[in-house]
């Protein structure tokens, strides 16, 4: 629920994103995947100067949306190459603001627990797949996944998803929510007409979505 205190905290964090360039900087850090990025990469992605990029990145750190680390970057030469660079990555903290107050998270937790208790996992998987299938055909697979909250990153065998749109719930009910996720991504690929070339499968690993999308080997 977005109670008054939570509303203040949530607005403080999200208010940092009202500036268009800052929002683009946040997106650039997230799109870079799980690893941290430097201000040069963000400046390049945004087409702005390094100083301006650094200004916005530090504002995002102040708001708690990004976290800072320092590391020596490889492949640098010249003066200053040995100095650790300031790097940015997205914070794992979640912010949600609802006006008027709504509490869909608690509702989702109660529903998930009920499904688990009644053993209705398969019904949820069926519903998720049907939901996915309703996506319009012809959508590009990466755009499709991005539009549904995933962060697709190309790998040699296909696509890894570096964000789980159901993260909090998936941590509480892994078999149920990861199974729902797999069914939904499978349905999305079918609805988009991409199921001949792409296949969703479970490949659970730390720090990313449990589902990967692999290219089908065409014989």
């Amino acid at each position: 629920m977005t109670a008054p205190d939570d509303l203040d905290a949530g607005l403080a964090a999200l208010g940092a994103l009202t500036d268009g360039v800052r929002r683009a900087a946040y997106r650039a850090v997230r799109a870079a995947g799980p690893g941290p990025v430097g201000r040069d990469e963000v400046a390049e992605a945004l087409g702005v100067g390094r100083t301006l990029a650094a200004f916005h990145l530090d504002k995002l750190v102040d708001a708690g949306l990004l976290e800072v680390s320092y590391a020596r970057r490889t492949g640098r030469t010249g003066p200053g190459a040995g100095r650790p660079a300031k790097l940015y990555r997205a914070s794992a903290a979640e912010h949600a603001v609802s006006v008027p107050p709504r509490d869909y998270r608690t509702a989702a937790e109660l529903l998930a627990e009920s499904v688990e208790r009644s053993g209705a996992d398969t019904a949820l998987f069926d519903v998720a797949r049907e939901h996915g299938r309703r996506t319009p055909p012809g959508t590009d697979v990466r755009e499709l996944l991005t539009a549904h909250g995933y962060l697709p990153v190309e790998t040699p065998s296909g696509i890894q998803l570096t964000n789980c749109p159901f993260h909090r719930l998936a941590e509480q009910f892994p078999p149920l929510i990861c199974g729902m996720n797999l069914a939904m991504v499978s349905g999305l690929l079918e609805g988009a007409g991409a199921a001949a070339g792409w296949q969703a499968r479970m490949d659970a690993a730390p720090g990313r979505c449990c589902v990967v999308v692999s290219k089908n080997n065409s014989d």
């Binding site: 688990e116 009644s118 053993g119 892994p174 078999p175 797999l182 690993a205 449990c210």
Partner: protein, 159 residues
């Protein structure tokens, strides 16, 4: 006593599940095939300490302390994180996802319990069943689940 990296306490895990059909039934075949794969995965997982294994197949399917159609898993890990990583961030998760293909929904108040044991102690099935009864009344430091965990007991005596 020398201070080392090893914790004085390990985490015990006990899980029960009611089969939809006998293990010899074709509908359960994929689970049976997966048993060997998943047990091997557990044995080589970081933080794995011990698991109950009886009989020629090296698994625990012959142990039926609660009901003839209820099979159990009893294992020991060095931390909650190790067990969580194996359970939910490995190939094991895909078998959990398919649990309703092979197992009936929970008809017991609890199907999983975690508790801390002194390192080196080998938990018994009787002890595990007692912990399962305990967690049914609600999570506590003596019996809990992943949804509400408790830290390992502090060593209260000074050496």
């Amino acid at each position: 006593m020398l201070l080392g990296m090893t914790s004085a306490f390990h985490l015990a895990q006990f899980n029960v599940a009611r089969l939809r059909a006998p293990l010899t039934d074709p509908s359960i075949a994929e689970f049976v095939t997966g048993l060997e794969i998943i047990n091997a995965l557990a044995d080589s997982a970081p933080g794995f300490v011990w698991r109950l294994a009886e009989g020629p197949d090296g698994d625990a399917t012959a142990v039926r302390p609660l009901d003839p159609d209820v099979i159990v898993t009893l294992s020991v890990w060095d931390s909650i994180e190790s067990l969580r990583a194996f359970s939910y961030q490995s190939a094991h998760l895909d078998y959990l996802r398919r649990r309703r293909d092979w197992f009936r929904p929970h008809d017991r108040p609890a199907s999983l319990v975690l508790w801390w044991i002194p390192a080196g102690h080998v938990p018994t099935v009787d002890e595990a069943c007692e912990r399962l009864d305990l967690v049914a009344a609600g999570p506590s430091p003596e019996a809990f689940t992943f949804r509400q965990t408790f830290p390992a007991p502090e060593l209260s005596t000074r050496h």
